[in-house]
Symmetry: C2
Subunit: 331 residues, 2 copies
């Protein structure tokens, strides 16, 4: 094939592919690009390193477990000293596509988010200063920070930058739904396609759209009917201070939703069936029949993409002067 | 090369290699063999699956973290509800070479060990029955157990068998010390070789020998001088009931000892320097000079082998009827 012909063929294919999903409210996930590989590799170690917590036991991966859809699959998380977390742990998968981070969007981006749990007394219960002191006492980390960032001194800015860069790699392309969007018409069963049609026609796509099938806006939980919960989280109000923002939460991504149970900010919905039923009634004023619900659920399960695939990181050992973890001293 | 010549060359090389370390008290680690790959792959998932615990938060990997030398690097471990464990978590690396499992050897082998923490109320705090019920409610696990074991019913026997098979793969060959043993004479520095000489001549090798550099016998902690500790563990006596066995513990492997801090059954020695000093005085009646100590430590760090390298497992999602984790209900 001539070079020009190849370009032409590629362009034609590209136009064809685009035309397949151009009118759809959901777009395929594209693989991560513009990644700083060295930062991401360092960030992967930090993501798995429990020495960023006071106890030496809790890492980012504890509550955003990459073996489990980037969540902990608990109603709310377990923090330092087994404290019960205030909210359901959102998935880290495809989180780079979110309009902001945390359920209330209080962090602008992944980097801003990464520093939060480290210093939260209910989560990792450490301080940024101590976390940096620990890392700066580990010779292999010092060398790697120097190699990656060209600096002599480890700072929290570089720590969160590296973690965020790793998290940018955690996208999940090539779900069956994306294959279908891209033209592979037998990638979805008739029921799954019917579920997608219901998902669009019932109005779910008003909030759950785009490549992440959510994550792009804040919406009120309990729009048509009020949502009843014991969970005290106020959502967006905690950020803006406005009463009108009470109970507005970031619309969660539905990518990999089969893996990210339980659902909602309070983790109250244990199954997809329950979540679809509640969302239909409270947000859309629509009671899905059992058959409709099953079809929507069947569609949602086609959103499970390729999970991050990488070798488990081997963490550099502490030095003789590294601060020791303090899991029990306050008990 | 002719086939016969190849065999002859291989035999010659083998004889040559054997002759290099035949007189040494430590032998190189050989890569794992006779592994049932399908069982090990299933076992890897189970090893990382926190649903084997009551809380849904603690997996085998929590306390035997394969990113951290197969340990948790804590004095004693954190168990269900943040309970403080009674003893330092021994490394899972090369554990297949141990004479028995646990510090007191109460489990005959890896399979017998694997069931212990699941049902220990201070560790994973579950029961074998409930762990099996959880797994049997997860469709992908049921299919994988059937494929691997040919049975319709998940049993704890298969669960522990699969975990043990995975653990058999966790050997760490090709340390610099093994390279040196196998004839690569520049693999160790002069100080490291001097440290090995001291290690042999001082008597450390009396207990720390063989391919695992330990793990092959029970010995009294505090042989020459008594060992002082607040830790109530009685060691081998708890298994045999004999007073004479009080404070006899399994000699730990020194493979990867650079990664498996803190040291001793009570985790009291924070650094290798401290551990070597204590061992010299209490077990051998020998006070190492600072220079000697540093050489022994330099030698010990050459025992760090290739760490297990594998893709993080992706766990199958729970089913709608899977028992929910109970992290907080008893608080």
């Amino acid at each position: 094939m001539q070079f020009n012909t190849l370009i032409l063929a590629t362009l034609t294919a590209s136009v064809l592919i685009q035309s397949v999903f151009a009118d759809e409210p959901i777009q395929p996930i594209t693989p991560a690009k513009s990644i700083n590989a060295a930062q991401a590799e360092l960030g992967k170690k930090l993501y798995f390193d429990p020495r960023l917590s006071k106890s030496g036991f809790i890492s980012c991966n504890s509550c955003h477990n990459l073996s489990m859809g980037g969540t902990d699959n608990l109603t709310t998380s377990i923090g330092h000293n087994w404290q019960q977390g205030p909210i359901n742990s959102p998935t880290v998968l495809n989180a780079s596509m979110n309009i902001a981070q945390f359920w209330d969007g209080r962090a602008a981006d992944l980097k801003a988010q990464a520093g939060g749990p480290i210093a939260n007394p209910k989560e990792m219960a450490f301080t940024h200063e101590l976390a940096v002191e620990v890392l700066a006492s580990i010779p292999q980390y010092v060398a790697e920070f120097k190699q990656v960032f060209g600096t002599e001194k480890v700072t929290i800015d570089e720590v969160t930058q590296a973690i965020a860069e790793f998290e940018k790699t955690l996208v999940t392309p090539n779900s069956r739904f994306d294959q279908w969007l891209l033209g592979k018409k037998d990638a979805l069963s008739a029921d799954e396609q019917a579920g997608y049609k219901l998902f669009k026609e019932s109005g779910c796509v008003a909030c759950h759209n785009g490549a992440a099938v959510g994550g792009s806006s804040f919406q009120k939980m309990g729009l048509v009917e009020p949502y009843k919960t014991d969970n005290p989280a106020e959502g967006r109000k905690a950020v803006t201070g406005k009463d009108a923002d009470r109970f507005f939460f970031k619309v969660p991504t539905l990518r990999n939703v089969e893996l990210t149970y339980p659902y909602f900010h309070d983790g109250a919905a244990k199954t997809l069936t329950e979540a679809v039923d509640t969302m239909g009634r409270l947000q859309l004023g629509k009671k899905f029949t059992a058959e409709e619900n099953a079809k929507v659920v069947a569609f949602l399960k086609t959103l499970t993409g390729e999970q991050p695939s990488f070798l488990i990181p081997i963490l550099p050992p502490s030095g003789d002067k590294t601060l020791h973890p303090q899991p029990f001293n306050e008990k």
